[in-house]
């Protein structure tokens, strides 16, 4: 019995050490420098053929069908720019933030607009307790229905917003990546709100992003894409120019 136990322990330890070693060696470590507060920039790309996005038929809402008559809209789950840049990827700091930076809440109040039966933006990243506005630019009603996961700090709600209603001021109480948002009247409307602590950004149509206001230090940067999930990189931010963290997702 004792011999069995010993042999098992030795094998387990060796395997664990090998595993950690492998993990550590495959993680890229990037060393760059910045000023008193630094930042991280980068480009996120998609490797391979992007999945076809389905066209959206808005015939049930004539206002919107008319608005998009000349440039039909498609789903936005995977949006790739001309140079392979991946749009709508949330980038945030998942490790290494000091308490002061993590608890800072930006005073900027982003707008989540409902326009032409689409969410503008399709993906928004926010700080915990950061105020944002829900607006309706359309000449008809929407119901705004975010569905956070149950029993967390955030709760599902569902509000009607007829045309001409002043924007609703809202906040999210806890970190969550990401809260799906839908409109039940227009079932094709889908979007995500990513709630994170600390500085965050969403990639543009070139797949580029910039995270500002980071004190120098070692961080883990994580990217989240609605279809492809998360990826992380270790980054060292120092005084001088911003650090770089590029990600590549493989097309499924």
């Amino acid at each position: 019995m004792k011999a069995h136990y010993k042999r098992f322990a030795v094998i387990a330890c060796t395997l664990l050490m090998l595993g950690f070693g492998l993990l550590y060696s495959t993680r890229k470590t990037l060393n760059v420098s910045a000023a008193a507060t630094g930042g991280i920039t980068g480009t996120i790309k998609l490797d391979g053929t992007p999945p076809r996005q389905k066209p959206i038929d808005m015939a049930k809402e004539p206002n919107c069908a008319k608005a998009h008559a000349s440039n039909p809209v498609t789903t936005e789950a995977v949006v790739v720019g001309p140079k392979g840049g991946l749009k709508w990827v949330v980038v945030y700091i998942s490790e290494g933030l000091d308490a002061a930076t993590a608890s800072q809440v930006p005073s900027v109040k982003p707008t989540w607009d409902q326009k032409g039966c689409q969410y503008i933006p399709h993906v928004m990243s926010l700080d915990v307790n950061q105020h944002f506005e829900v607006a309706n630019s359309d000449p008809h009603s929407h119901n705004i229905h975010p569905m956070p996961k149950p029993n967390g700090a955030n709760h599902e709600w569902n509000r009607s917003q007829p045309p001409g209603t002043p924007p609703f001021d809202q906040v999210w109480a806890g970190e969550e990546i990401a809260i799906p948002v839908k409109c039940n009247i227009h079932p094709w409307m889908h979007g995500y709100m990513a709630v994170v602590k600390g500085p965050t950004a969403v990639t543009d149509e070139n797949g580029s992003y910039t995270i500002n206001n980071l004190p120098p230090g070692n961080y883990t940067v994580t990217a989240w894409q609605e279809e492809y999930g998360r990826q992380s990189l270790k980054v060292t931010v120092a005084a001088g120019k911003p650090a770089t963290a590029d990600f590549t997702y493989k097309a499924k």
């Binding site: 019995m1 206002n63 009603s141 149950p150 029993n151 709760h155 709600w157 509000r159 001409g164 009247i185």
Partner: protein, 324 residues
Amino acid sequence: MNSLKPTRFISAILFTAIPISAILGLVFAAAFAAPASAQDVPELGPKTHIVIKPMESHIGNVTGHAAAAKSDYRRYCAGCHGDFGDSNGENTVWLDPKPRDFTIATFKCRSTPTGTLPTDEDLFNTIGRGLTNSNMPIWNHFTRQQRADLVAYIKIFSPRWEKEKAGEPIKIPDEPPVTMESIAHGKALFTKLECWKCHGPHGEGDGPSAATLTDSKDNPIRPYNFAAGGNDSRFKCGNTNQDIYKIFMTGVDGTPMPSFADVIQPNDAWDLVHFLRTLQVNRHGKENEVLSAAHGVIPPYVDKQNTNPAPAAPAENKPPGGGN
């Protein structure tokens, strides 16, 4: 002739098989016992017991205790809502709409704003009233104490009840008298707020978005049909005018029905209630009396207070057929 009789053959097999399997069993036990004890394998498999937290409910002067409802819950509720409150009872597969999942603590019938927990009274009333158009029966043969205990029991399933208080119930002003003006204004609101997109121009649950509606668990769900049913027709969350007021002002959480509290003024909400009653075409009530006195014609609403009327909604934005 037969050198081996059948009975002897079986006993021969048994005599050899039993010792062999016993030896094999011992060998396997010896081989696996040591690693198993060294590894501390976590216990897997389905949940086998439920911890009854000391939750309480307060309904007037009655205090409900979760522990007191254990047998009632198991006998009357668990069949649909499940032993663990997760809506996975043995009957659940047959039910549409699905029973409430108490583990996520999202409730349809509330007097509190959307996204908040209901009051104890809200849950107490739901149990006593049942939910029309669903399989939730009326449990009004339970004593007040039994129902209060069950309200407390529901709270053991979600941690939300330990972290949060119920929302602040919305304020409902006194109901103004039913007049044709009130009904006409209600009808204008029904059009402007686009209730008809789901409920249909005549409230028959057949609006353009009705077919694609799903609840928060992605199960298809139907908008309420006001015209179905007769004098005894009920709403999901009650049958008084106050209940209708609460339904659209607080929303039916977990379903596509949103809250209109941000966008309807309290007195306007009463006008909408009066109009909604006229959609219940087979129901005898004050609203339908006023309507039939006017030969069933609702005049267009003229806003007397507002000298600068809002521009009319675009033609595409009106219900086909134009309502009543």
